[in-house]
């Protein structure tokens, strides 16, 4: 059994993901490229006695040093040296897609072209002479339709045959015209004299090409002054005689080669008309209509998500409830009571509380996958860009922030669509300010407790609004200080509108959903267990509990435990905010998951089941605190301490504990200062 590694490259929107899925089926694994924020997808398959490992490279238009994604793709091909690179090209805009192919060719690695979306191209009236094209490019071409699973066997066959040929086949070389070729020769000669391992590893011609393009990454690898001087002179000379940067002229020559090859092999029987796609765009990106249409769509998405999601949510809640009851009833009494409590209160209470949101999350992901696969998302990003740009973010940043209204965990995952690292970090930092579904349980308890009916709706809106405004301000501040830098000018391809396939949507939904379950589940499980211990130990001595009712006993136990003591200890810190030890203790619990805040308060006030006797809990709260304090508590929960799952996801996506802690303490600090101000000033007025 032979093993090979195959890298998958291609333009964004070329259907690379579908081809990857088609090749690897369910056997995929998503991880992180070390040190960077872009996901690394690997998958496996076995074909005819070969074990093939596929690595899905980020979608790129080129392999320059100008963006992290391109560098990653390039580094993988150069450093990890896959046996074959499959370039997935979109047959309906072949010329642009082949640009990447020319870059891969120059890296001296065997390549196969997956001629994807060939069904669409045919429908547009394009006819291809693939044999001729294959000969001109000196590369094997396999027609595929990724999202229908067509072409899989042929592609795998081509990959194997190419790998087997062991680089004996000639790889095509793009020539750049006399002037540039002369300079390339000069640089290659200079490189030849240097004889360093850089030269052996990357090859003289490729290095020379990159050096003439003034590629920053490659230039930084060359130590030899002599070589750099030769390059400098060549570049200056070319600038003179060509009247433009060598980099641009070379790009032009590549397109010239591509154009020539395509002219001989493509027949276009239908002139591209102003089609329905353009009409839709005119409406959807209209200066006046664009934003309302977008907001309307978002409203529909959220409404449906929570409406349809509420049914499975209720089932899950009932399921976990009966599971807890079942364990309680069938547990042999008196035996290892602590284990039963751990299972029921700790594990099921903690993990169950989070998993209950799974249907919502999946539905939200499905809606987003639909919008993405249909091509609308690119238009939406443009519409939002006008606003986002003012904050210093890219239009696409709006999408993860919107997801954050459901849950921060998938929202942070969604920031992968942002290409600019600083953009991405800023967005990740402020996502927790988009009030998530979990916090809603807190508002549902507090608002009716402190505010009369006609104030309740506005209060809820106010809290959400404060979150959004704070998010905007914080993003702006971050972009001016910590994450200072230019915003990328907005240049984006608008893919043609496509009918999303059920298969495609489900795959995209599951990719995100599974990660949510796994990450949130493992982290929440661990923390719930830890929290359970902290809430139940140390136990007060038996005499302290004598004569008390079960509820009072629980309250006393809590006071005595680690969590309770910490709550008491931080009380002095919290008093300037109008809080006391009870709120402090509940807040500690809510760090695990915001939903726990309510149940914690219930225990503290010695109310057995907060939901059934909610009026009672609300009355107790009203008796203890003023509406100002109630408001402050809600705001504090909104802004401070994102839940452990969020912190864990931030750490995963940024690959650094530093940013995760910055987010955690930054937000908590912000909350503290803000609530302090609000409370102290509010006290003077009210």
């Amino acid at each position: 059994m032979k093993s090979i590694t195959v890298a998958l490259a291609g333009n964004p929107n070329s259907g690379k993901t579908s081809v990857f899925n088609m090749l690897t089926g369910a056997r995929q694994h998503v991880g992180n490229y070390p040190g960077v924020t872009v996901e690394k997808k690997e998958g496996q398959c076995t074909h005819r006695d070969w074990r093939i490992t596929f690595v899905d490279l980020p979608g790129t238009y080129s392999l320059t040093a100008y963006s992290t994604e391109e560098l990653i793709a390039r580094h993988h091909i150069q450093e990890d040296r896959p046996d074959v690179v499959v370039d997935v090209v979109d047959a309906s805009n072949l010329e642009r897609n082949l640009y990447l192919a020319t870059q891969i060719m120059e890296m001296d690695v065997p390549m196969v072209l997956a001629f994807n979306m060939s069904d669409l191209a045919e429908r547009h009236g394009l006819k291809f002479d693939l044999d001729q094209l294959s000969r001109l490019l000196e590369v094997r071409i396999v027609p595929t339709v990724g999202n229908k699973g067509q072409g899989r066997t042929e592609l795998l066959d081509a990959i194997i045959e190419t790998a087997d040929a062991e680089r004996q086949k000639r790889i095509h070389r793009v020539t750049y015209g006399d002037e540039i070729e002369d300079e390339l020769l000069a640089v290659q000669q200079a490189l030849g004299k240097a004889d360093s391992d850089v030269v052996t590893r990357y090859g003289r011609r490729w290095l020379a090409i990159k050096l003439l393009e003034q590629d920053e990454d490659v230039t930084s690898k060359i130590r030899d002054r002599g070589i750099l001087e030769v390059v400098g002179r060549s570049v200056a000379h070319l600038r003179d005689i060509l009247g433009d940067e060598p980099e641009i002229v070379m790009a032009d020559r590549r397109y010239g080669f591509i154009s020539g090859a395509c002219q001989e092999t493509i027949q276009s029987s239908v002139e591209r008309r102003h089609d329905i796609s353009d009409t839709i765009d005119a409406v959807v990106t209209n200066r006046v209509l664009g934003l309302p249409i977008f907001l309307l769509l978002m409203y529909v998405v959220f409404f449906l998500t929570f409406k349809i999601g509420s049914y499975p949510m209720d089932w899950l809640e009932a399921f976990f409830g009966s599971l807890a009851d079942g364990i309680t009833n069938y547990w042999p009494s008196g035996r290892a009571e602590w284990l039963r409590s751990l299972l029921v209160d700790g594990v099921i209470g903690g993990v169950g509380g989070v998993l209950v949101f799974l249907p919502n999350i999946l539905l939200l992901f499905m809606a987003i996958a639909l919008l993405e696969d249909s091509g609308y998302m690119a238009r939406a990003a443009f519409v939002m860009d006008r606003i986002m740009h003012k904050i210093g973010l890219h239009g696409k940043s709006f999408i993860p922030m919107l997801i954050g209204f459901g849950c921060s965990v998938p929202a942070i995952m969604a920031t992968r669509i942002l290409e600019n690292r600083r953009n991405r970090l800023t967005t990740i930092m402020v996502i927790p300010l988009m009030s998530c579904g979990a916090r809603l349980t807190i508002y549902a308890l507090f608002i009716p407790a402190f505010f009369p009916p006609h104030w309740q709706g506005p209060m809820l809106w106010l809290i959400y609004l404060i979150g959004i405004v704070l998010g905007i301000v914080a993003a702006k501040m971050l972009r001016l200080t910590v994450f200072r830098g230019e915003t990328m000018p907005f240049v984006m391809e608008l893919p043609p509108y496509r009918m999303p396939t059920g298969k495609g949507v489900l795959v995209h939904t599951w990719q995100r959903g599974w990660l949510y379950i796994r990450k949130a589940g493992t982290v929440i499980l661990a923390v719930s267990i830890v929290l359970w211990f902290a809430m139940n130990f140390p136990k007060p001595p038996a005499d302290r509990l004598e004569g008390r009712s079960a509820q009072e006993a629980r309250q006393e136990s809590l006071r005595h435990s680690v969590v309770g003591r910490v709550g008491l200890a931080v009380e002095p810190l919290l008093r300037p905010l109008g809080f006391d030890w009870k709120i402090g203790t509940a807040l500690i619990g809510s760090v695990a998951a915001k939903e726990l805040f309510v149940s914690q308060l219930g225990i503290i006030y010695a109310v057995e089941s907060p939901d059934e006797e909610a009026p009672s809990l609300r009355e107790r709260l009203r008796a203890d605190y003023t509406p100002l304090v109630g408001f402050c508590v809600m705001l504090f929960c909104l802004i401070s301490a994102p839940c452990i799952a969020t912190v864990a996801m931030t750490r995963q996506e940024t690959n650094s504990w530093g940013w995760a802690l910055f987010q955690f303490f930054g937000l908590t600090g912000l909350a503290y200062v803000l609530i302090l101000l609000i409370y102290q000033i509010g006290r003077l007025w009210l």
């Binding site: 642009r96 980099e247 641009i248 397109y255 591209r272 690119a378 907005f490 391809e493 043609p496």
Partner: protein, 83 residues
């Protein structure tokens, strides 16, 4: 500076001045290397044929290059010189 009848001397102007439906040819891009390179890799190289789909007012600047639709944000269209 002679002008023969029937031959219009085509001026070099920013892409932002082109109207919807117009076909133009790219001359050069007056921008930093990053943006320049990005645009080049998407097909905006000297002598590339561009077709304007829509030119803002209201709405975005959308053009077709190499059979693909690309939308440009603030100020980018002004940096692209065509004739």
């Amino acid at each position: 500076m002679s002008q023969s009848i029937g031959v219009k001397e085509r001026q070099i102007r920013p892409l932002s001045t082109a109207k919807a439906g117009e076909r133009v040819r790219l001359v050069r891009i007056d921008a930093g290397r990053g943006l320049n390179s990005r645009l080049a890799s998407m097909g905006l190289v000297p002598s590339a044929e561009l077709r304007v789909v829509s030119n803002g007012h209201p709405g975005p600047f959308v053009l077709i290059v190499k059979e693909a639709k690309v939308v440009l944000g603030r100020g980018v269209a002004q940096k692209i010189l065509v004739n």
